[in-house]
Amino acid sequence: MTVAPSTTSVLWSDALLAAAMMAVDPAGLGGIHVRARSGPVRDRWLELAAGIAGRDIPVRRIAAGIAETRLTGGLDLGLTLESGRPVVESGVLAAANGGLVVLAMAERVEASSAAIIGMALDEGAVRIERDGLSKIEPAQFALIALDEGIEDERLAPVLADRLGLRIDLSGVTWPDTHGIAAKLDIGAARLLLPSVVVPDSLIDALCALALSAGVLSMRASLHLVRAARACAALRGVAVAGVEDGSVALRVVLGMAASVPEDAPGPADDAQVDEAPRNEADKEQEELSTEALRDMLVEAVKAELPKHLLAGMETGARSQRQGVAGRAGALRNRARRGRAIGTSDKPPAPGARLDVLATLRNAAPWQRIRAEAAAVGDGRLRKLQIRKSDFRYLRFQEKTGTTAIFAVDASGSAAVERLAETKGAIELLLAECYVRRDQVALISFRGKSSETLLEPTRSLVRAKRSLSALPGGGGTPLASGILATLALAVRSSQKGQSVVAVFLTDGRGNVALDGGTIKSQVLGDMQMAAKAFRANAIRSIVIDTAMRPQARAEVLARDLGAEYLALPRGGARAVAYEIGARMAPP
């Protein structure tokens, strides 16, 4: 069956090509960042990708919540107890040596786990420094990160930067997946790979293009060159050409173009126009590099579906309204936390035993007890453990707090209010980074609300996101409440406690659908407030009206929130009040 090349089947064939490139140069390309919802298309791609990578290589599937011990490896308790000497149990990363690691729900992976995986990708090995063990185990694997992130969730940058290839299956339809993919000879390509030459002019063009597309990461430029080489190897040619370069741009940058949200997205024409000024000193090569670059841009344009190109140019994200539909799936993981030490009494009923600490405690007594046991009941056991040896794990729930600011950015006072909030956020961040606190910012104005700042601890990031805050327009209060609720629910699922701070005068005048019919506005507001209240989220309403009025107080009551009138509070007053409420009780 041959399928006429539609835009989506190009996506599909690129996705398979990416899998083949990873199979050819796993160490150089790191792996594939797959953006797709779970479903038959993704499953089929995974199955084919694993097949392309090789039939008899190890494939380990892990989920985002994996414990650090399982990643790095640690003490094998079963065997240690049985043999009476420490036995190392390899972690999943080492177990996948020579194969693939598939990371599900990659957008949810914790920063420290992501960093561990990232280091293993860099070094091709994992370092175990835990449970009294010290070992380096080889772990050369390619990573397939399955990113189901919607809206503002995204893969940890530690990993995103190290994964050379990016594909997006969200536009691929099921029939597309049944087109016949070109048969690729991975084995031959691997043999050819080391001898494939990437001409200097192509390297120059790829680097210049990546830079003018706003991709600053050096790794991305490296990945481009390696992808071009892998592509040439797959085609069986000894010198990489424009064709390989354009494939590389597609599977390394094209679909992703991780242009930061606030970076001015260079328009496509501007890319071509702007780039040459960097090269004024290279008169001689200019022409050929220039020509090559133009050819590359043209080649990419021809292959790229229109909507992807649009996304690449503006770096725009969809700005869907937050919807509070996920409150039901809330408390499935209430018992989170980090082990902070051990105690000799169970800190709570049903506390977990720390087997290693128990062993350590029992160890010095083994000989004496063995002698005593030999005299006593005569039963010989490898290990003699008494109740007094037991040590229990003490967990600490993450005590971090996320303060979500929901700011009414409507009307004329918006500029002042926003400046005040911005100041308060930066003050809070500067003062609270000793604790694990975070802040987020939602603004509502005009017809809907917008998440301007995802929960973050980083002052750097906050400053960047807050540098330009638009204001003016109507007051879609209901939308603001729902967006805040959605973010609050998401944060508490990640183990953070939440304080929501509404800065508003309480006068909503835009309904959820953007209309201004009074009864509709009121109905929506009450519905939103009810949903918010039902989730029992700690919240504060700060009245920003010049003369505090009953409206905001009513809103506070509807939300189940505390009411504060700070008509001319200024950044410091706001920060002070919130800071006091963020501190652990």
Partner: protein, 340 residues
């Protein structure tokens, strides 16, 4: 394990490379913090440094890296061996020890040797990473993600130079003086001020933004990936030259003259910037001396101090969250002011 990427082959990033070299010349400068963009060769530089450092002398096969020049500070085992006349010095590579995320406290500080305890019932201490890093470097990648209780432990040891372990019926203390090298990306979160203060120099790294140097980075890395051995060979001379300049600078350091004008300059600078504590001035002096020694001068000049001032002070400024400008810029501004 594998051939590391040669230090001298790193394109640009001069501030980072210089900071590492200065710490290699004078470890008392304190730790080095490297913060900035991903993929800028932070880890590569630290690992490259390991290949660059001249060897050091160690007593026997001591696991605490006992220094033969400091017999009084020997550990018990070295003392016993010395008394028995069995202690022979060895030349070993300066340790550059990784503290990976996910490490547990028992491996960092050291703990009861489980194997010996289980097998023979012997209560023995198994030294941790802090012992291995003594007289060398301790490297923490993504330092801002390190767990709080490990940070506390490090702060304590870095301040006192001694690691004290009181656990599982063991009571051990051993010297642990090392250059702490931390790297990270500010987007992952800030560092605690107490930890920030422990670093002598702090450098910012950013991805090169001009095409020619980016092309150069890619080409060199590509050449290295394809044949690490040959690539390293071709940079061996440059690395060797750096190594011998470290050795020379170390030798020159004690006899270096520091004019009063330079000391005054340091004080004025700290005063202008409102940096409190002596640590800022001390680091300025030490780093400036190391720099003078590195360029082969007999006398420290204000020029040396200007060159290292931003690295030595940028992380010590009291932060005003409402001031937009980067703290490095503030230091530069102060330098200009003093000149005027």
């Amino acid at each position: 394990m594998v051939q590391n990427y040669p230090f001298s082959a790193i394109v640009g990033q001069d501030e980072m490379k210089r900071a590492l070299l200065l710490a290699a010349i004078d470890p008392t400068i304190g730790g080095i913090l490297v913060f900035g963009d991903r993929g800028t060769g932070k880890s590569t530089a630290v690992r490259g440094l390991a290949g660059l450092l001249p060897q050091m002398s160690v007593a026997g096969d001591c696991r605490y890296n006992c220094d033969p020049a400091d017999v009084a500070g020997y550990c018990n085992r070295c003392r016993d061996q010395l008394a028995a006349g069995k202690l022979h010095h060895r030349q070993v590579a300066v340790p550059v020890i990784d503290l990976p995320l996910g490490a547990t406290e028992d491996r960092v500080a050291g703990a009861l040797d489980l194997e010996k305890a289980l097998v023979s019932g012997e209560k023995a201490f198994e030294p941790g990473l802090l012992a291995s890093a003594h007289r060398g470097f301790l490297y923490i990648d993504e330092v801002n993600l390190l767990e709080d209780h490990l940070v506390d432990l490090l702060l304590d040891v870095a301040a006192s130079g001694v690691n004290i372990v009181e656990r599982e019926g063991l009571s051990v203390r051993h010297p642990a003086r090392f250059v702490l090298v931390g790297s990270g990306n500010p987007e992952e979160g800030e560092l605690r001020p107490q930890l920030l203060d422990r670093f002598g120099l702090s450098v910012n790294v950013i991805s090169p933004s001009d095409v020619p140097s980016r092309v150069e980075v890619v080409k060199r890395r590509d050449a290295y990936d394809r044949d690490p051995a040959r690539f390293s060979q071709s940079w061996k001379r440059k690395d060797g030259a750096l190594r011998s300049s470290i050795v020379k600078a170390r030798a020159a350091l004690p006899s270096l003259e520091t004019p009063d004008s330079v000391i005054e300059f340091a004080s004025t600078l700290c005063l202008t910037l409102g940096v409190d504590g002596l640590r800022g001035e001390l680091t300025l002096m030490r780093a400036a001396r190391a720099r003078a020694a590195l360029v082969g001068r007999q006398q420290v000049t204000i020029e040396d101090m200007r060159a290292i001032a931003v690295s030595a002070l940028r992380h010590r400024l009291r932060r005003d969250p409402l001031d937009e400008s980067d703290s490095g810029t503030r230091v530069e501004r102060a330098l200009l002011e003093i000149a005027a």
